[in-house]
Symmetry: C2
Subunit: 463 residues, 2 copies
C-alpha cells in the first residue's frame, strides 16, 4: 500500500462536477464494513441510478458483494441498465430472485431488451420469466430484430393521429387516453395504411387553435427508419438532422415504433467510444471493471499484430546489417525517421477515419483529400528534413549523413500522408472498419519505408 503523501496526488485533488466524491465512497464502504444498513441507505438514497452503477463499478468485487447483500431490498432496476456489462451478470447473480423480479418489472420494455441482449441464456430466461405476459411478448418481439438495429432501439409505445384530424381532436384524444407514454415529444401523423406521414411537436399542438388541421403543423425535417436499419445509421441521422424523435416502420412501411434522441445519443456515445478504443488498438467494450485476464486477452491480438509489423521492419533493417556495421550512427538515427513517419501517418489516418465516420469523405472529394494530405506531408517533411539535416551534420559531423536523413524524412512523411489516407478509404470500401485495422497497416508502411529509404540511401551515398 501507498503512504499518505503518495496518495494525496491522486486522491485529494479537486473533484470534477458530477464525479462520485471519494468521501462519499469511503463513507458507504465504512457503513458496509459496519453492516450499518441505516447509514448505507441514507447515503445512497440521494444517488441517481447511474451514480450507484458507477459506485458498484469503482469498488472491488468483495465490497460489491457485501454492499449488495446489505442493500438489496428495493434495488432500482435502472441500476442494472446503467451497469457495465462486465459486472452486470455478477450483480444479477448476487440479487435475490424476488428483488431481481421487482427491479426488472419496473423497467420500460426497451430497457429490458437492452439488459437482456448481453446476458447468458439462463439469466435471460430467468428475467423473461418474471415479466408480465404482455411485457414479455413485447421484449421477445424486440429481440427478434437483428442486434444493433433500429428495431432493437425503438420503443413500441407511439402516440399516433390520423392525417385528417385537427389539433382539437388530437388534444381530446390524448386527454382521454389511459396509457400515454411518460416521455413523448411528437405526435406521429399516419395515413389510413398506418404509414407515418409527418411529426407534430407537442409544443406546436399546445400553441395552436383547435380547428387547425394537424397536417398544417408537421415539421419540415422528417425522417423514417426501417426496423432493420443499423443503429449507427440512425444515430448519424439524428445527429446530422437534429432529430428529436422519428418513427420506425416495417417492410411494408407501417409504423411499429419510435426512436427518440436520448436513445440515439447513447448509440452515438458508444460508437465514439468504440472508434477511440479501436484506433488505439484496445478492442471494443473495454472497461475498468473488466477482469485482468479479459483485458489482457483483448489487448493481446493488437500487440501480436504490432509484433508482426515490427518484425517486418526488422527484416528491412537486417538487409542493411553491413551498412550499419560500417557506420553505427545509422542505428542511432534510423528510429527517428520511422517514428516521424508513424506519427504523421497516424495524424492523416485519424482525420480520414473520422471523416469517413461522419460521411464527410465521399466519392466527391476523395482525390482532393488525398492530394491535400500528400501536400501537407511534403511541407512538414521539408521542414523537418531541414532540421534533421542540421542535427545530423552537427551531431555526427557528416553532411552526407545529414542529406540522407533529410531525403528519407521527406519521402517518409509524404508516404505517411498518402498511406494514412488511402488505407482507411480502401478498408472502408471493402467494408472493414477503418478504425479497426488502419493503424497496423499504416505503421507497417511508414516503418518499412522509413527504414528502407534511410538505410538504402545511406548504403548508396555513405559507403
Amino acid at each position: 500500500m501507498s503512504s499518505d503523501t503518495e496518495t494525496a496526488v491522486f486522491e485529494e485533488a479537486t473533484e470534477e462536477p458530477f464525479e462520485l466524491s471519494r468521501k462519499l465512497v469511503v463513507g458507504i464502504l465504512y457503513a458496509v464494513d459496519a453492516k450499518d444498513r441505516e447509514t448505507l441507505t441514507k447515503l445512497m438514497e440521494p444517488l441517481h441510478a447511474a451514480d450507484i452503477a458507477d459506485l458498484l463499478e469503482q469498488i472491488n468485487a468483495y465490497d460489491r458483494r457485501r454492499l449488495i447483500q446489505l442493500y438489496d431490498r428495493g434495488f432500482d432496476g435502472e441500476i442494472l441498465s446503467e451497469l457495465d456489462e462486465s459486472i452486470r451478470e455478477e450483480v444479477i447473480a448476487l440479487l435475490n430472485p424476488h428483488v431481481l423480479a421487482e427491479a426488472v418489472r419496473e423497467l420500460e420494455s426497451d430497457d429490458v431488451v437492452d439488459l437482456l441482449e448481453d446476458l447468458e441464456e439462463p439469466q435471460q430466461e430467468a428475467i423473461l420469466d418474471v415479466l408480465e405476459d404482455s411485457d414479455r411478448v413485447a421484449v421477445e418481439q424486440s429481440l427478434a430484430y437483428p442486434e444493433n438495429s433500429a428495431g432493437r432501439l425503438m420503443q413500441r409505445e407511439v402516440v399516433m393521429a390520423p392525417d385528417h384530424w385537427t389539433v382539437g381532436q388530437v388534444i381530446d384524444h390524448m386527454r382521454a387516453s389511459e396509457d400515454l407514454p411518460e416521455q413523448f415529444y411528437h405526435v406521429v401523423v399516419v395515413n389510413p395504411r398506418l404509414h407515418p406521414v409527418g411529426n407534430v411537436t407537442l409544443g406546436r399542438i399546445m400553441a395552436t387553435r383547435r380547428d387547425v388541421p394537424l397536417m398544417d403543423l408537421t415539421e419540415e425535417t422528417f425522417e423514417i427508419f426501417r426496423a432493420d436499419m443499423d443503429e449507427e445509421d440512425v444515430a448519424y441521422a439524428f445527429n446530422q438532422y437534429h432529430l428529436i424523435s422519428a418513427p420506425v416502420v416495417d417492410d411494408e412501411g407501417r409504423i411499429v415504433g419510435v426512436i427518440t434522441i436520448d436513445d440515439a445519443m447513447i448509440v452515438l456515445d458508444e460508437e465514439h467510444e468504440e472508434d477511440i478504443l479501436r484506433l488505439a488498438g484496445v478492442g471494443e467494450e473495454s472497461s475498468l471493471s473488466d477482469k485482468v485476464i479479459n483485458t489482457t486477452r483483448r489487448r493481446f491480438p493488437w500487440l501480436a499484430v504490432n509484433l508482426v509489423t515490427a518484425v517486418l521492419a526488422s527484416l528491412v533493417i537486417a538487409q542493411f546489417e553491413e551498412t550499419i556495421a560500417g557506420f553505427v550512427a545509422l542505428a542511432v538515427l534510423m528510429p527517428i525517421v520511422a517514428s516521424m513517419g508513424g506519427n504523421a501517418g497516424t495524424q492523416s489516418l485519424t482525420v480520414a477515419v473520422r471523416a469517413l465516420a461522419t460521411r464527410d469523405l465521399t466519392g466527391s472529394n476523395v482525390w482532393r483529400v488525398i492530394r491535400r494530405e500528400i501536400l501537407v506531408g511534403l511541407v512538414n517533411g521539408v521542414i523537418f528534413a531541414a532540421v534533421m539535416a542540421v542535427v545530423g551534420m552537427v551531431w555526427f559531423g557528416s553532411p552526407a549523413l545529414g542529406g540522407v536523413i533529410a531525403v528519407a524524412m521527406v519521402i517518409n512523411l509524404v508516404v505517411a500522408g498518402l498511406a494514412g489516407t488511402v488505407i482507411p478509404i480502401i478498408l472502408d470500401r471493402l467494408n472493414v472498419d477503418p478504425a479497426l485495422a488502419s493503424g497496423a497497416f499504416v505503421t507497417t508502411v511508414t516503418d518499412v519505408v522509413g527504414f528502407f529509404a534511410f538505410l538504402g540511401l545511406a548504403a548508396v551515398v555513405l559507403l
Copy 2:
C-alpha cells in the same frame, strides 16, 4: 487526373445511408457549369440544410463561389449554422448583404450566437446590425457569458409555471400564450423567487386530470445548471442522467434559460471529436475543408514534439554505439522492443484518458486501476517475451540475445502499463487535458526504457 478504373475503387462503391450521393453532387456541379439555375434549384430543393452545408464543404472553393452566386436568393440561415468554421467566413463573404440579412433573421437566437462566436469582429458587427432590436439584445446577452459555458448553450425562451398551479391552469396558460417556443419538452416549475424546483414533461401533463397539482408530476431526475458552468460538464450530466432538458440559473439561482438534449448532443459530439484528434496529435478543429497551410501548421507542433522524443531515444541509443558495433543484430531487433512498448503504452493511456473523461477513474479506484494495468503489462510482456526469445534464438542463433530481448520486453510492457496510466492521471490532476499531452510523454518513456533496457542488458550479457 486518374483513369476510370483507378477512380472506380474510391468513387463507385456503395454509398452509406444519408451520405451525399456522388451522382447528385456531379449533377449539381453540372448545373453550376451550365449556369442552369432552374435545375440547380430543383436538385437542391429536397436537401436538408445540413446536407447543403456538407455539399459546400465537399466541393472546391471555385465551385463553391459559382454555386453560391447562382443559388443565393433564398439562402437558408441554417446552412450557415451547419457549415464548418473553416469555410463559414468565406461563404458569408460571398453572400450578398440582403440575402445574408434574410438568412440570419430566420435563425433562433442561440443559433445566431453559435454562428457569431467564431466570426471575426467586422463580420460579427455586420450580422448583429441586421437583427431586430430584441433579437440583438438577446444575442449580445448570451455573448456576455464565457465561451463554452451553459449560458452560451442555453435558449432563453422557457415555459414556466408557478409551483402552486394545477395541470388545468398550466394547460390554459399554454393555450392562451402567444409565443410558445416551437420545440419544448418540459414545463419548468418555479417558486416565487423564480428558482426552478421541478420539471414536468408535456406528455405527463397531457395524461393527467386538470385538478392535479403540477408539483405531484415533477420528474425524479432533475438537474439545474449555473450559467457559468462549462458546457462539457453540462453534456456529461445529460449523458449520465439521461436528461431531456434542464433549467439554467444565474448567481442568485434564478432561472435564465433552458438547455435541451439536442444542444448537449452537439457538445458531446464535439468533445469526442476533440479527444480523438488530440489523442492522435492532430489538434482541434481539423476538417477536410481546411486549407493545406492551416492543416500543416496545426500538425507541425505535434510532429515537433515527436521529433524531440525521437531524438531523446536516439541519445539513449548513442550511449551504446560500441555495443551495437560489436553486435549488429542489436540494431535489427531494438525497434521491436520500443515499438511493442509504445503500443502497449498507447492502449493503457487511451483507456485511462477515456475513463477520466467519463469520470469512471476516480480517487476511489485509482490504485486498483494502476495495479491492474501493471498486471496486464506483465502477463502480455511474459507471453511476448517468450515469443521473442524464440525468434531471437532462431534468427540469430544466440540464446543470450533471446534472453536479453525477452527480459527487455517484460520490463518495457510493465513500464508501458504503469506510464500509460499514471501519466494521464497526473496530467489530469494538474488540469492539463490528458488527451492532449499523454501520448508524447508515454512514448518517450517507452522508447527510452525500451532502448535502454535492451541495449543495456545486451552490453552486460553479450559483450
